[in-house]
Symmetry: D2
Subunit: 365 residues, 4 copies
């Protein structure tokens, strides 16, 4: 019942604090005989790793993942897979200010109210450092999808589609561009503008929000478990559980509320023994079950709350005070949320693939 | 693991199809000694009940709830509470068309692909009729909140804040108005315009989408279980699992992504032994834990997919065809989603209140 | 988290009190397209039904089960199956004595201490009447096993192997006899002695305990989920959760503790492409996973606590008093525990079959 | 859903193989502000540690536990507690024989049948080495019980009550003796005989079984969650999930089946504002809920399957062969099962204490 796990059939549980000795996770339910080595996981971690451009925190963490169990002679055994990353660059000597003061927009205040104690070092458990283990688990989930679906490749890709209120031009969308700029932008022209926007914000001691879009292609129809574990309900939970996320939408999302019934309902046509759709307002999910179309999810990431501008707040003795959050922080946490969103998508899909197989047996074509 | 339940400590499981003999739910985890009778649940069902205005389906269902277990001499006993509603007005003689054809925008196609069988009568399990049991369970959740929190009243109220792309004027917001119009609109002037919009849509055989806002006041700080069962993550799942919902946001939501760090992070001030905030962009949740501010959730409801305009689709033999969805349908399902959203809010809060009490013991003040 | 459910992939949740309007259960996770009608469930309920001989309670309950959801045109749809049995012969006018007094050996005292309230009518939720729904769910589990395993028939059969300290003669074991006497005894000669023993006990206002053995033949190797959901661990929980059960053992059970290592470890031999074992001390489970041998479970049922002999006890005001439990009771509850034990075996196997299929995919041969 | 976790509110998940780099567990749901350091856990591990007498395996493992998360400045924070033990003395160079052959009585065959792969080094995941993490989690559970119950001390103690078919003399029971002999025997005279029995068995290349009894004193009335998570049902699962356990009983256990109703039902008397019982055949559990009496559980441990006597078996190519299990093994695994049984008792009680507090709020007196 405690909330450190995600998934049912493919299930992972994370542990660890930002400035503790290590962070880690235990992944359960992975089918046996799947090839798995650290090298299958590390590239995804590298993508999320801090310190790769001036637009992310300068904390230096190699984020080297180690597999401690569940793999034998290069293949999974069906037993729990324990992954661990040792924390390196904690630089935790001086926390003076945040030890007693609650940073606005942070979890400092609520953790203290809930538990009566908090590990204030770097945000402790509430730090976005926890998301490294999501990315690691996502790497394993991708192996599971690949192994089970075989030739039917599921491609899960994320991109930043808006930053600081400036959206990309969708007609310039090019997946190949995503890896070529520090923003995971599918539109290089907008990326260039974001670079200016973010430099300006950073220099002003401010920060920017962003919107991330994650798309899964090649997902078979039939995944999702009505009515409370609908595929989109699980995706909403998955994304909303990522630090700093304040909104999630599927397909046309909030815009769907502005369409008429005729505009919104995607029409269907037979195409050989498959079905094609005239549009994808549904975002690939109907009645909580995948339709075979691309699964499209977007989520909004608030601007980093750790800023240099002094802000009013209270301390743990409930006295008024001010705080300036120095330290190494991402001026836009939305950027590094891209690989995290991809990972959560992979995890939700792997989970529902195993769940479907358990109940229904044959996989949907 | 199957997906018919919601909640952990306060947990309910629903069953039943739109045109089966009955629908029902089992609610577990309810503390003992709480006064409970059908009359505590019925008013919420009446609010959601179909056929109350020309803006909702004309299906006539009295939706009389019956308590079958878990209550003794007017009080809960701590054992499971079974609730049932007999279906009355099924009118299921003729399903000719939808028995074989998949309605665009509906779950017909995906249920069939997943299970190889579907109860097509009125949508079967995928019908929004299921939400009646959410409302019933929500009524019980409200009793739990009231019983445990006592004098600290949690007020959970929902309203329609946008329909067919037309938003309310927020400066005219008046909760008292919500019960006075058929749209749960807090702004009567906008409600009058919606009446025209919806009449137009209905006569054109079309339908409209809407946005619902649910606010919980008086929620103590400290509820929510990091990191995967964050209060907002559970709310996102709760709302996204409601039929036709395509997006969920908390507090400033997607708009937060357009604010700067200074604008977004709500500042804090001491106020006696409490804390007040300069704004509520967070929507009452920080780090997945309630802050004591109002919990504010919005969700987008797509326009009803059952429309009179003929649409292209396929049948279960994967042949191209057309469909017109006759029958009794809500021209805007978003309206009746208001009490459903309130119910899901009550359920999430009751669940986390019990979970908090289990782990931490004393309730947050 | 509340404790009214059993199983993970095949999961059922029961509700209802002995003298409430009805009892019922919701079964989730059942694969689609399995033929299911009331007639598939009723025979198992008839086997457990009270009032069939003078050796069971004279309460008259037809125990007619009704399917309320999850089945369409005679086949399961993959959605939750709601089963209900209306209580008929409650005879609940007069509970005077047990309303205030706690019956020794019953749950009266502990329910009251836990919840501060109890439905004392016929034992309320703690009544063995709850086990009717286990038997109903077991009937559905048998359909699942049959449907998935096809030609590989799993035969689940139970028998009473000891009553009042008198064991059967194992060399006289004959499964055909089980249905021919009111004790589910596989040895008619011992059954004749039990008849005398039980008549004596009944006339003396006393009661007898018993030991039940349940055997599942034809179970494929590979079921069970190490390390906490071992097949035998789940069976132990399943059986110990049945009313009045005080002990559970697998295979040689407690006797295994008296064997030497050589005697105990069942040797293996190849037999075509299968494996045979020289003995079955393991009871068909090695390391928590089925080995392909018969699964053999025994459980001990204490003598009925409702007896006519006056017993010392306390009332709810914690005053010393005496109680005589009149009413209609089984002089040996172990008898009717036989079909309940069979049902729990079927449920555990169906659950692990679906779990295995989810994680590993192909079924073990 | 995978089976590597135990408990609901107090929940732990173990990982690791006998000869992998480490074993570990993640404990969730621990209340905040509880003092916790390695030194609170280590003594229990030391009690279970191998190589402490000639009656246990000579594998040398210091079993030094390390806390990696969830504790800050000496107190729990409410976040997951990660514990790890590095494996030291793996001696895994030569597994020749067991790599291909299935040891009778071991999980080798069934793991291979289930997963198609197994980590054969020292039994991999099926090794009793896993139980070290149960003991570690049990140490944390004891801290939880102590912290919540305060002055009402719960004393959890285990003892070996039978070995090789030779039971202790119960009238000589002395808890103080348990720590004074290598068998956790409460009766030193029987311990002396066991020493001879076990030397004989060991020299003959054989092994002995045993019966363990675990008693919890001071447990408040009211713990346990009817009907499927009865306290005794959870204890049965907890104990049966321990390696080599083949039977579990509560209170009078199997012997209860041989008592009459009058003999078995423990009578009650008022004693101040408490209740006393004339006997404890129930083993402290009525209707699945603790009664305030001592909780008494016994479980049977089969003789070690790893013996020097050659045994017939098959290899993974399903060919007949013979095997002699050399290596370092406990001649009676029941001995070291004593601290494991204590740990599982502590875990079940801590879990139900938190569950009770969640649903009912006030703790039972």
């Amino acid at each position: 019942m405690p909330g450190n796990s995600f998934g049912q059939a493919f299930r992972f549980t994370t542990w660890g604090e930002s400035h503790g000795p290590a962070i880690g996770c235990v992944i359960e339910g992975v089918p046996p005989l799947i090839p798995l080595k650290e090298g299958d996981i590390q590239p995804w971690l590298d993508k999320r790793k801090p310190g790769q451009s001036r637009y992310t925190t300068q904390r230096r963490e190699p984020d080297q993942v180690e597999i401690l169990s569940g793999v034998f002679e290069g293949r999974t055994t069906g037993t729990p897979i324990s992954l661990v990353i040792r924390n390196q660059d904690q630089r935790s000597k001086d926390y003076g200010d945040i030890a007693d003061k609650f940073r606005p927009g942070h979890a400092d205040f609520t953790y203290f109210r809930k538990y009566g104690i908090r590990d204030y070092r770097g945000g402790g458990r509430s730090s976005a450092r926890e998301t490294a283990m999501r990315v690691a688990a996502g790497g394993v989930a991708r192996q599971v999808l690949g192994h089970i679906l075989g030739a039917q490749v599921v491609a899960i890709r994320g991109a930043l589609v808006e930053m600081g209120g400036r959206p990309i031009e969708r007609n310039r969308w090019n997946w190949d561009e995503v890896e070529r700029n520090p923003f995971f932008a599918p539109d290089p022209e907008t990326a260039a503008l974001w670079a200016q926007d973010l430099d300006t914000a950073r220099k002003a001691g401010s920060s920017l929000g962003a919107i991330v879009e994650v798309v899964a292609e090649g997902v078979p129809a039939g995944l999702g478990d009505p009515v409370y574990d609908k595929l989109d309900a699980d995706l909403a939970k998955a994304m909303m559980s990522i630090n700093a996320v304040k909104g999630v939408e599927i397909g046309a999302g909030f815009q769907a509320a502005r369409l008429s019934g005729e505009e919104n309902a995607d029409e269907m046509r037979a195409s050989g023994n498959r079905v094609t759709f005239s549009s994808n307002n549904a975002g690939g999910v109907l009645g909580g079950i995948s339709s075979g179309q691309d699964i499209v999810v977007r989520f909004a990431v608030k601007p980093t709350s750790s800023i240099l501008t002094p802000r009013s707040t209270v301390d743990r003795f409930n006295r008024d005070t001010e705080i300036v959050t120095r330290g190494r922080h991402d001026p836009c946490v939305g950027i590094r949320a891209v690989p995290v969103g991809e990972a959560m998508m992979a995890i939700v899909l792997a989970d529902h693939l195993l769940r479907h197989r358990g109940q229904v047996g044959s996989l949907p074509e």
